[in-house]
């Protein structure tokens, strides 16, 4: 009888990335609702130190699949390791963060276990011995509710939606040997870090995005300054990425990234459906646009009708003053 919740820990440089701690928070609630245990699994090389952090974020136990062959994140290597751990534990629910790595490993694990997967969920509920998952589809134009017809159920969770648990589960560590092969067919030869201090768009709690209303690439410095003042990540509309003003890693929207920060600034962005697809579940949206009839104002929590080139420097200065005052 499948029991318990297993959560995949995505980690970098000795610490668990925030979307995985959020997944533990969701896992904690599901485990409590079913009176079952919450187990975390960390895969890689030198992962012992993650057990304590996982415990503080709610895990009762932590499985450590520690092997030099798993140092680099190969989907097959990590997928096989997690699938093996899941076969031994037989959980009812397996959770992943819906980050690039999390989504990939989730899909491999679901295929290896021949079971269902719901991607990028915004809600999970334990119900009647099973689960319900809600996830945006059609670029966020609709919400699909699904339930598994077999357990375990695998789900990846949208970052910035679920809360990190305050409960320390203890995080008792258990080493698990890696019995898989095939981790060597994909080799990461280089990591090119984003510019120093650049905040990751997918995890940022504040995002400041710019669009064509900025009139030219040189004016994006106004977006960067506001972002710096707020400790925010920088985003961009498709139009300015296609025009070559900004790199596509910054694109928010249907063919870019989906973000769900606490606060999203849309500056000089009209609000086409494809852009909204990437940000419409942000908690608070502030829109700055010269055109009163721009569709972005239909989703904005607060709107300011004005020229972004004029408003942004004034806003940045006023925020700096408010913080220091």
């Amino acid at each position: 009888m499948p029991q318990g919740v297993l959560v995949y820990l995505e980690h970098r440089q000795g610490s668990i990335k925030k979307p995985s701690r959020e997944a533990l928070g969701c896992g904690r609630l599901c485990a409590d609702a079913t009176s079952q245990e919450l187990v975390a699994v960390a895969v890689g090389s030198g992962v012992e130190s993650l057990a304590g952090e996982a415990g503080k974020a709610g895990a009762d136990r932590v499985l450590l699949v520690d092997d030099p062959a798993l140092a680099e994140n190969s989907i097959a290597g990590h997928g096989k390791a997690v699938a093996e751990a899941a076969r031994k534990m037989a959980p009812a629910l397996i959770l992943f963060p819906a980050t690039v790595e999390g989504k990939d490993v989730a899909a491999w694990v679901a295929a290896a276990l021949d079971t269902g997967l719901a991607t990028d969920c915004i809600a999970i509920e334990a119900k009647d011995g099973s689960f319900l998952a809600r996830r945006p589809v059609y670029a966020g134009k609709a919400i699909l509710t699904v339930k598994p017809t077999k357990l375990p159920f695998v789900a990846s969770l949208r970052p910035n939606v679920f809360a990190v648990s305050a409960r320390n589960g203890g995080g008792a560590a258990e080493k698990v040997a890696f019995e898989g092969t095939g981790a060597g067919r994909v080799r990461t030869t280089e990591h090119i870090a984003a510019a120093e201090g650049k905040i990751e768009l997918a995890e940022a709690s504040i995002v400041v995005s710019g669009g064509r209303g900025l009139k030219g690439p040189e004016n994006f410095s106004l977006i960067e300054e506001l972002a710096r003042e707020l400790g925010a990540a920088v985003g961009a509309s498709r139009a300015v990425v296609d025009a070559g003003w900004r790199p596509h890693e910054e694109q928010v929207g249907q063919t870019g990234k989906t973000v769900a920060p606490q606060l999203y600034f849309a500056c000089g962005i009209s609000g086409a459906i494809q852009h909204l697809a990437g940000m419409s579940t942000s908690r608070t949206i502030v829109a700055i646009n010269n055109d009163e009839s721009a569709p972005i104002f239909n989703v904005a929590t607060y709107g300011l009708v004005g020229d972004a080139l004029e408003v942004l420097p004034a806003l940045t200065a006023a925020i700096r003053e408010a913080k220091n005052g």
């Binding site: 097959a76 690039v100 491999w108 059609y138 919400i143 339930k147 994909v186 090119i192």
Partner: protein, 249 residues
């Protein structure tokens, strides 16, 4: 270099989505279907690689018979032949799709198997990796650049916060990210040539689903917003809101 590109027919990204009478799938009346955008990017990249390395490109899809239209578009965009596995299921569970594609792929040898990184309807991004697992092949996702050499490929991929340079042995599975290639819209010459290229149509068969759709619904409406003001004069009020209501300062 033998390449297979898996593509999907999806509602156009401008479509107004209406929930159908069953409360579980969309109302397909008046929906314009197109090739999923990331799949077009994958196909464009395959065409560029064929220009450098030769070989053939097969496009494969699981879809209704009407998907012949999208398959002819792929042939016009440069694919050499197409395989359409006909399936009338409205919103097939990706685990089932992956099994059906993997079954057919056993008879379609390839060096590179392409997918878009996600389909523009389900937004699930599962099928490419699932197929790689079922065929036990290396898979690299979110590819933004690719070079092929003897028996292996070197790609750039975009991962949250960094770019990775990755090598993979062939055969392998790849998923395309924006920036990898620009889709080439069919020329008249391409469209004419497409009519003569082979397009095989066969029943997809069936495979079990592991997830059931409970409901499809419009998203919850956002709480009513307000215009704070116009121009520079509105800045102090916006800052007050950020401090006292949004509490970020």
């Amino acid at each position: 270099m033998r390449q297979v590109v898996c593509v999907k027919r999806v509602p156009g990204t401008d479509t107004r989505i209406k929930v159908g009478a069953d409360g579980r799938t969309i109302d397909a009346a008046n929906v314009q279907y197109v090739l999923s955008p990331y799949d077009e990017i994958a196909l464009a990249c395959a065409v560029e690689l064929r220009e450098k390395h030769g070989g053939e490109i097969t496009v494969l899809t699981l879809g209704p018979s009407e998907a012949q239209k999208e398959m002819r578009t792929c042939l016009a965009m440069g694919a050499d032949q197409g395989v359409l596995l006909t399936d009338t299921t409205a919103f097939r569970d990706p685990s089932s799709t992956a099994v059906l594609l993997a079954n057919r792929l056993k008879d379609l040898p390839f060096d590179l198997l392409w997918f878009g990184n996600k389909a523009a309807d389900d937004d699930g991004g599962q099928v490419g990796v699932r197929v790689a697992c079922l065929l036990d092949l290396p898979v690299v996702t979110f590819v933004t650049r690719i070079e092929a050499a003897e028996g292996k490929i070197t790609v750039h991929r975009e991962v949250d916060g960094e770019t990775q340079v990755v090598e993979a042995d062939l055969p392998c599975v790849l998923t395309a990210q924006k920036g990898l290639a620009e889709p080439r819209y069919p020329s008249l010459k391409g469209i004419m040539a497409a009519k003569k290229k082979p397009l095989e149509e066969a029943a997809a068969g069936d495979a079990p689903s592991h997830v059931e759709i409970v409901s499809l619904a419009p998203p919850p409406p956002r709480p009513e917003g307000r215009i704070v003001g116009k121009g520079l004069e509105a800045v102090p009020e916006l800052v007050r809101i950020l401090k006292e209501e949004v509490k970020v300062l």
